[in-house]
């Protein structure tokens, strides 16, 4: 049984996305926050719980509180990489369940693209990786992709299928950064960076922010939007740096997924739409396996022939994902936002029919942390 049955997601919003040179990271956080609060019919005066993390600010909830003029009763700035914001949604739900706050605002903002295009990062150097020229994060993911190909026969074209499917979904999302058609050959033949990964196996580098508001199921009744419920949740980690990943072809999503499915009382076959953190094409293949949508090693053949593209057997990353929609450095919250919108049936051309249960999976570090959330438009039992 979900421990979050008395809590609802009542608003989601993005800031301006893409290239936003006139706003800084805090501006983007605040812009997304205002949009989300307006969507719900709330104001900043209603917010008593603040949740954020950042690659730009060392004390991000303080920065956000100061900027917006909010004096929260409860804060959390969990830092587990790009998955942090999925984790923060659950941590906020837990705080509301326990009466620590009533209206929780989760906000993210990053000017990663405008700042120069590299991954915004306040990470410490890794003594046992940096001297060898590890081009992090792409080379860490490349080591994983190479091993996956070696163990299971995953092919170059199967990696490309992931990027092509994302682009097809993005063509139906007016907010997506890249919408022009893309072929398998375009991906396979784009600039080779770190074998086997090419430039188009890598997520976008954009600016952008996002926000989400949670409150009690009771309070949600008086707000503007259809409430969305958290049925299941799980998180875990296997390592910090890639040299310590125990098994390069199995991620902590196996464990986070099991926890989430168990809490929700559902399994992979019950999921109507899937939002996976696609920092690199290989991620989607790994997470489909680890979250039980196919057996280990069969992720490559699972995604082949447009199976996760529009009209395929499983709709994955219906917003276009980090590969084609946006990726300001920590993509996690965008997986939840698209899950919520699909469940509210707001996705227009890309709307999935009869969408009742969505899964969002956040990834952090170099496949280091995984956070799985199962959402529904029906209140949990």
């Amino acid at each position: 049984m979900s421990i979050f049955n008395d809590v609802a997601i009542v608003a989601v919003a993005e800031s301006d996305l893409g290239i936003v040179p006139h706003l800084n990271s805090a501006d983007l956080m605040a812009q997304a926050s205002i949009r989300a609060l307006k969507e719900a019919g709330l104001s900043k005066h209603d917010v008593d719980g603040l949740f954020s993390t950042s690659a730009h600010y060392s004390m991000p909830t303080l920065t956000l509180a100061e900027y917006m003029g909010i004096t929260p009763k409860y804060m959390d700035a969990t830092s587990i990489g790009g998955s942090s914001f999925v984790s923060l949604v659950a941590h906020a739900a837990q705080a509301i369940s326990n009466g620590l706050c009533e209206v929780a605002l989760i906000a993210y903002g990053s000017t990663q693209r405008t700042d120069g295009g590299g991954l915004a990062n306040i990470s410490e150097p890794f003594n046992h990786e940096a001297p060898y020229g590890n081009f992090d994060p792409i080379s860490s993911y490349a080591l994983v992709a190479q091993r996956h190909m070696y163990e299971f026969g995953t092919t170059r074209n199967q990696l490309s299928e992931v990027a092509v499917a994302a682009r097809k979904w993005a063509s139906m999302n007016s907010k997506a950064f890249k919408r022009e058609p893309l072929t398998l050959d375009d991906v396979s033949n784009s600039t080779l960076i770190s074998t086997p990964l090419t430039k188009l196996d890598c997520c976008l580098i954009t600016d952008g922010g996002a926000a989400l508001v949670l409150t009690t199921k009771e309070k949600a009744k008086s707000l503007n939007k259809e409430p969305i419920y958290i049925w299941g949740y799980g998180e875990s980690t296997t390592h910090r740096s890639i040299v310590s990943m125990p098994n390069l072809v199995e991620t902590a999503a196996k464990l986070s997924g099991l926890s989430a499915y168990e809490m929700a009382g559902v399994g992979p076959s019950d999921i109507d739409v899937v939002q996976l953190y696609d920092a690199f094409s290989i991620n989607v293949i790994l997470f489909l396996e680890d979250l039980g949508f196919c057996p280990k090693g069969e992720g490559g053949s699972f995604v082949a022939n447009g199976a996760i593209a529009p009209g395929g057997r499983l709709p994955v990353n219906t917003n276009g994902g980090g590969l084609s929609y946006c990726h300001p450095g920590m993509y996690g919250l965008f997986t939840v936002i698209e899950g919520v919108r699909q469940l509210r049936k707001e996705c227009g051309e890309r709307q999935i029919d009869n969408c009742r249960i969505a899964l969002a999976n956040g990834n952090g570090g170099v496949l280091s942390s995984q956070v799985t959330m199962i959402l529904s438009n029906e209140a949990g039992a």
């Binding site: 020229g133 081009f135 080379s139």
Partner: protein
């Protein structure tokens, strides 16, 4: 020419490892309780939790667990040297993996499962790096 690539900044237990490299020794910790190899150096065994662990000189042999050939790189000092081979080497006698460069062969010839052996590259007066070459000079 001054060495312009990233260097380690070892502190704590790891200093023993880097000093060993300077003396052309690959010192890898082994747990006296569960016998597991430990990399990078720590004050406890992450496998069983025991603190009875010690540095032992490793043969420096192992096999390539995975690798990637970098054709583009933004890493200082490496960006001009593409293509180069970054690898995870699984050391013989346990489960420890370490990151390294495979040197002394063309990147085209590197494969997962290939047997490799350590070579010690003095990069500065202070630091020696453990690089690996194919066994038998393949």
């Amino acid at each position: 020419m001054t060495y312009n690539k990233p260097l380690p900044n070892p502190k704590g237990i790891s200093e023993t490892y880097w000093k060993g490299l300077k003396e052309k020794k690959l010192l890898i910790q082994v747990c006296n309780h569960c016998q597991e190899q430990i990399f990078y150096p720590r004050i406890l065994c992450p496998n069983c939790g025991d603190e009875d662990i010690e540095f032992k000189e490793h043969t420096g042999e192992g096999e390539i667990y995975s690798y990637t050939v970098l054709h583009k790189s933004i890493v200082k000092g490496f960006s001009e040297e593409t293509p180069y081979t970054l690898a995870l080497v699984k050391l013989d006698g346990g489960n420890a993996k370490m990151m390294t460069n495979i040197v002394g062969c063309s990147p085209d010839t590197v494969e997962i499962g290939m047997r490799v052996s350590v070579v010690f590259t003095d990069v500065t007066d202070e630091f020696t790096l453990p690089h690996f070459i194919p066994v038998g000079g393949q």
